[in-house]
């Protein structure tokens, strides 16, 4: 009887073990810093743990409290209104990319300028825009007053604080624009030429060639900006800390306050799990619905 080399032979097992070795750092990291914490957050959501006393099991009390928590609903509302920035930026980024894709000179310079805001971030940017949004003396209202318009109170106005953050998000649309541009440049010009010969005008070309081919990129940008919108923290923390009158109490900011300023760790964990489920649901929903409008190369 001859020896048959099967998948279970020691060579294959050795090669498989090698693979595990290579990803070992990730396996450890995932369990310790990601998977483990998620499970821990899930469990902690059922306790009333605060920094001052050891955790006590309270079942679903936290979740019941959350449903009655007006700040919870306010923070959901704030975050959802802010989500309006996604369609605005998706369209703006595409518009700019389309402009840049015309044969123009200095494309590189424009690309650089538009991408510049994405390179800077964090506290410095937050402080800069705090300065820009100042009601009387800031840049925007100053400019507006020169044309005779009295600008709103921006970060000090409940109505205008979220639009202010949306404007701030539009400033960094350069990253999305670049991704669109990459996609646009991948569309073979022969398609457009054929369309022109059939008498297609700009709109027809856009709707029937450009847009369908861009749908995978649209999906990517959509998911990235939705996830990003749920994570906005530094700018809010520095510029408004959730004010005025909780008008900018973003969800993750509310989690932070509960955990690190009010020390309600159990409650904060419950909030975090809800966030996790919301993002999970949103992503699944986007993926499912994308089957209807995604275009695949046959």
């Amino acid at each position: 009887m001859g020896k048959v080399v099967t998948k279970k032979s020691s060579y294959y097992r050795w090669r498989a073990r090698e693979g595990y070795l290579f990803i070992l750092p990730w396996l450890i990291g995932f369990c310790v810093f990601m998977g483990g914490p998620i499970v821990a957050a899930f469990l902690m959501g059922f306790t009333d743990w605060s920094m001052f006393k050891p955790p006590g099991f309270v079942g679903v009390a936290n979740y019941l409290k959350i449903v009655q928590d007006s700040f919870f609903w306010q923070s959901l509302k704030v975050t959802c209104i802010y989500l309006l920035n996604v369609p605005i930026n998706l369209a703006l980024g595409l518009f700019l990319a389309l402009l840049l894709n015309q044969n123009i000179r200095g494309q590189g310079i424009y690309r650089t300028i538009f991408y510049l805001p994405s390179v800077t971030s964090g506290v410095a940017v937050a402080i800069l825009w705090l300065w820009i949004f100042m009601p009387d003396i800031g840049l925007i209202n100053n400019l507006l007053s020169k044309v005779g318009i009295e600008g709103p109170l921006w970060l000090m106005s409940e109505r205008w604080v979220i639009p202010a953050f949306i404007i701030l998000s539009m400033w960094s649309v350069g990253g999305m624009m670049l991704i669109y541009l990459g996609g646009l440049q991948g569309i073979p010009t022969s398609l457009y030429e054929a369309a022109i010969m059939d008498g297609a005008n700009f709109w027809k070309k856009f709707l029937h060639i450009t847009l369908p081919i861009l749908t995978p990129i649209l999906l990517f940008n959509l998911i990235m900006s939705v996830i990003g919108s749920f994570q906005i923290f530094t700018t809010v923390f520095i510029m408004t800390r959730g004010g005025p009158n909780y008008g900018s109490l973003f969800y993750v900011l509310y989690i932070y306050f509960n955990a690190f300023e009010w020390f309600k760790l159990g409650y904060a964990s419950a909030l975090a799990i809800i966030l996790f489920l919301i993002i999970l649901g949103a992503t699944v929903f986007i993926f499912r619905s994308s089957a209807k409008w995604m275009y695949y190369e046959k």
Binding site: I28, G29, F30, M34, G122, V123, L178, F220, I238, A259
Partner: protein, 283 residues
């Protein structure tokens, strides 16, 4: 015909002009806040509102020094350099090892685990930050740099694992075979074939993770307590919270904090653009 130009040609010229107009207007709007930051930084403190839009006639370059020395920014700069350097090194090291595992080796559950890795991108730090905080508290790592550096030696940001894996997949496996015939083990393939060919991708990982680590705020906020351990991000926020800080000094120091990222961007522009496009197209 108008002025001897056909109407089709005229339409084309007008639309080209509109494109340039819109792009330039957009460019000015986008670049203006930076100009604004610099020009405010150079005004005489207390006179930020004089000649509002104009560049100051006698720019006070000394403001950079004066603002910087109001608080221990140099120490904070040093902290930020250590944390950023450590975490970027860890990210590159572990990211490339892990990505190689996902790209080049075969084992059961490989693609499933990669999917798991990728999906963890969706989870905001705020979901895991509380348990992580408690973990580090028990380890005694609070108020040290460890929570901000060590996780990056264990994979770090899955975005970079994804990027590197896609890049590795594109390297032809014939090169691997050739090396193995010469007696190279898998690790040898990693160090002698794949890594040297991946310099552009590694560069992109280095640049982006530098940027994100340098500007990180929430991490230092919850893991660092004592002022002397602060990073520049925390220090800037502390600065802003002081009473009677002139906007000129605030803008000056903010500008200094932002400068390394700007310089890095200008030097490595091509890598930035490539990185963004690669992530979007392959994503």
């Amino acid at each position: 015909m108008i002025f001897g130009i056909s109407s089709a040609k005229l339409q084309k010229k007008v639309s080209k002009f509109l494109v340039y107009l819109l792009l330039t207007a957009g460019g000015v709007i986008v670049a203006f806040p930076f100009y604004w930051m610099l020009s405010t930084a150079l005004k005489v403190p207390g006179q930020e509102f004089a000649s509002f839009f104009l560049f100051p006639r006698n720019p006070q370059w000394i403001n950079f020094v004066k603002g910087w020395t109001i608080l221990p920014f140099t120490r904070w700069l040093w902290n930020t350099v250590i944390i950023t350097g450590g975490s970027v090194a860890g990210q590159i090291l572990s990211g490339s090892l892990i990505a190689f595992g996902f790209a080049r080796t075969k084992f059961r559950g490989r693609d499933f685990l990669f999917l798991v890795c990728l999906s963890s991108l969706m989870i905001p730090f705020q979901v895991t930050m509380v348990p992580q905080f408690i973990l580090f508290k028990h380890l005694g790592w609070l108020d040290t740099f460890k929570p901000l550096i060590v996780p990056f030696f264990f994979g770090g940001n899955p975005f970079f694992i994804f990027l590197l894996r896609q890049f590795f997949l594109a390297i032809p496996s014939e090169l691997d075979q050739a090396a193995r015939i010469d007696g190279c083990g898998t690790f040898g393939v990693f160090t002698r074939i794949v890594l040297p060919l991946s310099k552009p991708a590694l560069g992109i990982v280095a640049i982006f993770s530098f940027m994100w680590r340098w500007n990180d705020f929430l991490g230092p906020l919850i893991f660092l307590n004592s002022t002397k351990k602060y990073t520049l991000a925390l220090g800037l926020r502390f600065f802003r919270g002081q009473l009677h800080v002139e906007w000129t000094y605030l803008m000056a120091v903010s500008f200094l904090v932002v400068i390394p990222c700007l310089i890095l961007f200008f030097i490595a522009q091509r890598y930035y653009i490539q990185g963004i496009v690669m992530s979007g197209i392959k994503g």
